[in-house]
Each structure stands twice: as structure tokens, then as C-alpha cells.
Symmetry: C2
Subunit: 208 residues, 2 copies
């Protein structure tokens, strides 16, 4: 990807314009929503010409993916000292991210577009999804060091299946709770969810 840091000849693209455009995209997204977000409006807010936008992004969806991708980089997983604490931590920090209007609106909108656009799906995975999955890998490695989880299976494919499964369960549950059921992901919910994830259905349905 980054094979060309070599400065090509001619006038270079303005990095300031890039930042202004992405910032304007995020703020405009909060104020007007996805469907009323127009390229012209973004250009006006960013103080650049509309043509400059089209020279860099072919579609609104691609622009928005890049604009919100940085938000997902802010996700961190501080060591909570136990697997339970780490799971609750990642649940709460992901939920906090989804509480930001530009994050939830953008995420759902580009996912909707991606259902009929294979290239956009790849772009989303690279810019957003894979950056989240890294948190699962971190937490899992820590838990294995503590002895809370068994070490990796001999079969690396088996390991990847398990990691993917856990990722889909955690991220899926938080997204569904936040955006579909439209209920708050607070400490109490995170605790109950973590208990279910750690101990399974029988235990979670009986009050501790």
C-alpha cells in the first residue's frame, strides 16, 4: 500500500485540506445526518472546492469511512488485571464510542452501503473492523498469560475461528444493544453480559 512515499513531481496534495475535509465530514454528519450529507456541503464547511473532494474520494461512503476510521483507533484496552475486567472494559469503551453520534451514524450507514458494494466492504474491514479485532487478540493473550484461558490450539485455523467468534459475539452484542434495541450499555449490563460470556447460559439466568 505505502509503496510510494517517493515525492512525485508537481504540486503535492495539501495535507491541511485532507484534515479540513475529514473534520468537516464528521461535524456535518452529526448535524445533518447521513442521508442529507452532501459533498457540496462538506466542501463548503472545509473551505475547499467541490472538485478537490472528488479528486480524492469517488463516493460519499468512502469519504465517511476514512473520516470515522480514526475514531476507532482511539479504542484502547488497559490491563484490568483479570479476564472479566478486560471484557467489561472493552465493552464499555466500545459502547462509549458508539454513543458518539458521528460514529454510530457513519458506521451503520457505510455498512448499509457495503451490502451492495464489495470494494467498500474491504475498505471498511481494513479501516475499521480489523482495528477492533486487535483488542480481542490482546485480551486473549493476556488471559492466557494469567492462566485464565488455555493456550492456543495446535491448529492455527482453530485459533482464528475462536477469536473471530468471540469478536463477533462481543462487538455484535454491543452494537445490537446500542443501536437496535436502543438501550444503554452501562456497567450493570456489561457485568451481566460478561458473566454470560464467561459462564454460559445456565449460570447467567440464575441470579448470583
Amino acid at each position: 500500500m505505502a509503496g510510494c512515499p517517493a515525492p512525485r513531481r508537481g504540486r503535492p496534495r495539501s495535507a491541511a485540506a485532507d484534515r479540513a475535509i475529514l473534520d468537516a465530514t464528521r461535524t456535518a454528519l452529526v448535524e445533518v445526518g447521513w442521508s442529507k450529507l452532501t459533498m457540496g456541503e462538506v466542501a463548503r464547511r472545509a473551505g475547499v472546492a467541490k472538485t478537490t473532494l472528488y479528486r480524492r474520494w469517488a463516493a460519499k461512503s468512502e469519504l465517511v469511512v476514512d473520516a470515522v476510521a480514526v475514531l476507532f483507533d482511539e479504542l484502547e484496552l488497559p490491563d484490568g488485571g483479570s479476564l472479566r475486567a478486560d471484557i467489561e472494559g472493552v465493552v464499555l469503551s466500545f459502547a462509549a464510542l458508539l454513543r458518539r453520534p458521528e460514529a454510530k451514524t457513519a458506521l451503520m450507514a457505510v455498512l448499509a452501503e457495503s451490502t451492495t458494494d464489495e470494494a467498500l466492504r474491504r475498505r471498511i474491514r481494513a479501516a475499521i473492523v480489523d482495528r477492533q479485532k486487535r483488542l480481542v487478540l490482546d485480551g486473549r493473550a493476556r488471559a492466557q498469560q494469567r492462566g485464565e484461558l488455555p493456550p492456543d490450539s495446535a491448529d492455527p485455523a482453530e485459533t482464528e475461528r475462536v477469536v473471530d467468534l468471540i469478536f463477533d459475539v462481543i462487538a455484535g452484542a454491543v452494537v445490537h444493544r446500542s443501536l437496535v434495541s436502543d438501550c444503554p450499555v452501562d456497567g450493570a449490563w456489561a457485568a451481566t453480559f460478561t458473566t454470560l460470556l464467561l459462564e454460559g447460559l445456565g449460570s447467567a439466568s440464575a441470579p448470583r
Copy 2:
């Protein structure tokens, strides 16, 4: 709600037009996707005037909610004889629904719009989400009859929290796996997921 089945005076609305419009919406959604779906195009395919559409639905998102709501009525939960079988069954049938292009495109698109539209959120919950949650209630009641799950807690609010949690975990995981990770939800995945849900993290990460 249904306080007025009393036929008002004047010419009644055409039920045939309703069906034609909703059918046209679904087929058009598959062919052109959400962002290029226009009211005019739906009207043309349905063989009705564009004004007739606007007399019944104020926005594209509301039309699409109603158009796909019937798909979610098709979800059934045949008694599989065990809690495990019932969970795998609902996972697979929900995944099959999400494999239909009009279902996944419509679901994600209206959810995206709903992040900035409270009325639309309510409409989606009534038309789609609550109809899915009924499956969790059914499966849970069956498992309790079989003795696989403890009976309801004395506190009905506690019961509702548990049902909501299970619903968000199952539906969220299936949606995330299908539409975000973009991987197939097949029998093997359903089995692994069900094991995780029933027995918790420690058991699922170790091969059986």
C-alpha cells in the same frame, strides 16, 4: 391503534396498490441498492403514480421498513427437542433471512437512518425487532418446561433483562458475523456459537 375499521366515507384506498408498492420496493431494493432507490422508480415499477406513494409514506425509510417487515414474520422456531437444537435453529434461520439481499440491505439502511430519527426507531422496533424477540421468549419457555433452564425469577424486571440480553447476544452475533465480518453463518459456526453461549468462554476455547 385499530380503532377505525369503520369504513370512512369516500373511496377506500386500494389494497392492490399497497401490495404492488411493497413488492416493487423489495425487488427494486435488490437490483439498485438503497442509495439509488428512488420513490419515482418504485412508483414506476408498481404501476402507480408517484403522488400515491407520498400519500401513504412520508419517507423512503418508512416505506422500506414496511416492505421488509413481512420478511421477519416468516421466522419460525420449530421445536428441536433441546435448548441446543433450538438455539442452532434460530441462528440458522435468522442467518438465512439475512442472506436475502433485500433483507440485509433494508435492515442496515433503515437502522442507519434511525440513528438520527426517533420516530423511525420506534417504527423499526414495532415492525421488526419485537417480532424477533418473540423467538427468544418461545425458546426460553420451552427450555424451562424441559428443565434445561431455571424458572423465571420472582422479579419480572430481572427476567426481562435476561431475555433482552440473550436476544442482543444472539441477534447481534449473527448480524455482525453476516454483515460486518462478512463470513458465512453455517452449521459449524452455529454449533460453536451455541457451545459458547451454553457453556461459556473456558469450555468453548478448548476443542471438544
